[in-house]
Assembly symmetry: C2
Homo-oligomer: 339 residues x 2
């Protein structure tokens, strides 16, 4: 349902759709970065060293920016949202560290992963440290409501990761299965990051729900776009390599759609490449060709767009403001970047 005063994803996004949000939260985000730097310290030098590598490479700070802008959207004028945005980033970093160990990844955003540089052991333990530190910072903030939001999110994320481990390399995964996995794996931290803004803003529960729905749907859209980019020519522009998910045998929505729509012979191809991980030099090109034939990337992006629209619709509860506009634009930007 299109709401007249809510800009739609189908309208062209600003070229700098992330710049708007970045500009609005710049000062807050500088304070967050300072808190992150202070609170990741430890007398054990390897901890800030390793954590610093991941956090510095962490790029956009999208999740903490969502906490900051959600709080400001709710009219919050204090400083609590900064420490809590740092907690969100700590939890995100902890899950990245553990993810890279579990996925045996050696590159993240073009840089060597912590497990590749220092080994799995410190990655597991520094992840545990950052996770504990996030809870220490929340305790200092003193809100049981925030503690509930982030401990619930963490439990669901861990559960989603275990579920993904089980369905990994299973080409029979349905679209519903896959959306279920990312609803648990990626969406909860986006949702929590936004909800926290409403909590510190002390807004009624309808607004907390609306921001939660915005974050949840944005998280799903974000992950679907990420999955598409892994097979897209645009990927190369972003300094990444095409086909990482394919080489790891990861089942994502483009694969789910191409497999479901493929002939028996094509399905044998997908099974050999992704289940048995028997891959030849020309297989990635063939995979891209099959995805093109079955519109797997376009249709995945359409799904992302639908979730993005739902995210944007959720903001109709709030009056027009630079923060609301920026939060709409960032969703559009995340989807448009894949075209």
């Amino acid at each position: 349902m299109a709401i007249a005063d809510v800009q739609r994803v189908s309208e062209p996004a600003l070229p700098n759709g992330l710049a708007q949000l970045t500009a609005l939260t710049r000062e807050d985000l500088q304070a967050v970065n300072k808190i992150i730097l202070e609170r990741m310290q430890s007398e054990v030098a390897l901890i800030p060293q390793l954590a610093g590598h991941v956090i510095a490479a962490g790029g956009k700070r999208l999740r903490p920016m969502l906490t900051l802008s959600s709080a400001r959207l709710c009219g919050y004028q204090g400083r609590r949202h900064m420490a809590l945005a740092a907690c969100v980033e700590f939890i995100h970093t902890a899950t990245l560290l553990h993810d890279d160990v579990v996925d045996e990844s050696h590159l993240r955003r073009g840089l060597e992963t912590a497990n590749s540089l220092w080994g799995n052991k410190p990655s597991v333990l520094v992840g545990d440290f950052l996770f504990s530190r996030a809870f220490q910072v929340m305790v200092q903030d003193g809100s049981l409501e925030v503690l509930k939001i982030l401990s619930d999110a963490s439990a669901i994320i861990a559960q989603g990761e275990v579920a993904q481990l089980i369905t990994a390399n299973d080409t029979e995964t349905s679209e519903a299965d896959y959306v279920g996995v990312i609803s648990e794996k990626t969406a909860p931290l986006f949702e929590a990051a936004c909800r926290i803004g409403a909590v510190v803003g002390e807004r009624p529960s309808a607004e907390q729900e609306a921001l939660g729905r915005y974050g949840r749907n944005f998280g799903i859209a974000f992950q679907l776009v990420d999955d598409v980019l892994d097979y897209s020519a645009r990927q190369a522009d972003l300094g990444k390599t095409v086909g990482d998910d394919f080489r790891e045998g990861k089942i994502t929505l483009p694969v789910v759609l191409a497999f479901a729509r493929g002939s028996e012979e094509e399905q044998r191809f997908w099974r050999r490449c992704l289940e048995d991980l028997e891959q030849r030099d020309t297989d990635l090109d063939r995979a891209l060709g099959l995805m093109d034939r079955h519109s797997a990337l376009d249709d995945s992006l359409d799904r992302a767009r639908a979730y993005g629209n739902d995210a944007i619709d959720s903001l109709k509860l709030f009056e027009d403001s630079p923060y609301r506009r920026a939060m709409i634009e960032v969703v559009e930007f995340c989807i448009e970047r894949a075209y």
Copy 2:
């Protein structure tokens, strides 16, 4: 300082020093086990399966028993201590799961480890799940003081684990270094488990401090005894194998003492076995001989006894009661079992 009304470690312990504590906390512990079973459930079947394996193999439930008995010692009559004892066990289980991944262990208490049975990946993620679940249960309990105690403990434990990773296989480790590591790695959860009892009992901070000191010193004594048992003939009685730490190149107090007191030739032996991990069939026997010559095991036990005495002294603040007697006896039992 010996206090007349406090039984000393040097007096003979009851043969069933753990049985007393077990008997006193039996009903509470049954409730804790029920909570553990309920709260480790998940729609992802692998989570309760893997967690159940570790928790069932977990043996004595020493840490949750300390929460239960500390609360009762403080005169607490409610039920909060049960859920919080379950949190302590969840955090303990999460650290065991991650420890076994980090140490690449294949056996724990004579059973195959979770990482050996299911692989490292689910062990890391189910550990994360249990850790998050512990915080969810604490949030439900609603005490920021408890959340502070356990998030602080978790951060220190993770930091201690990273520190141990760095000092691992370094034969130059001093006794102070080593006690420093176990003060961060093993003692904090014992300390936290006991402090929580005083918090739910709403006792003055002096009593919380006293129980914290009891737990901390008991934890150090417990770890030192564990280290000695790994080289002791008594080990075989306990269904374990002698020399696991030696084979893994772990530096524990018996090694620290034997190395410091050894000749240059002996120090070369220790370096070859524990730093270079070049071990021959007869090396463990030689290590045991060197420990015997330099009284390394006896002196390690004396250190454990000193920490145990400090733990027992901390209880002088409390009036005599079956719970206090059981908490004294369990310290004595843990030390005596190594003789």
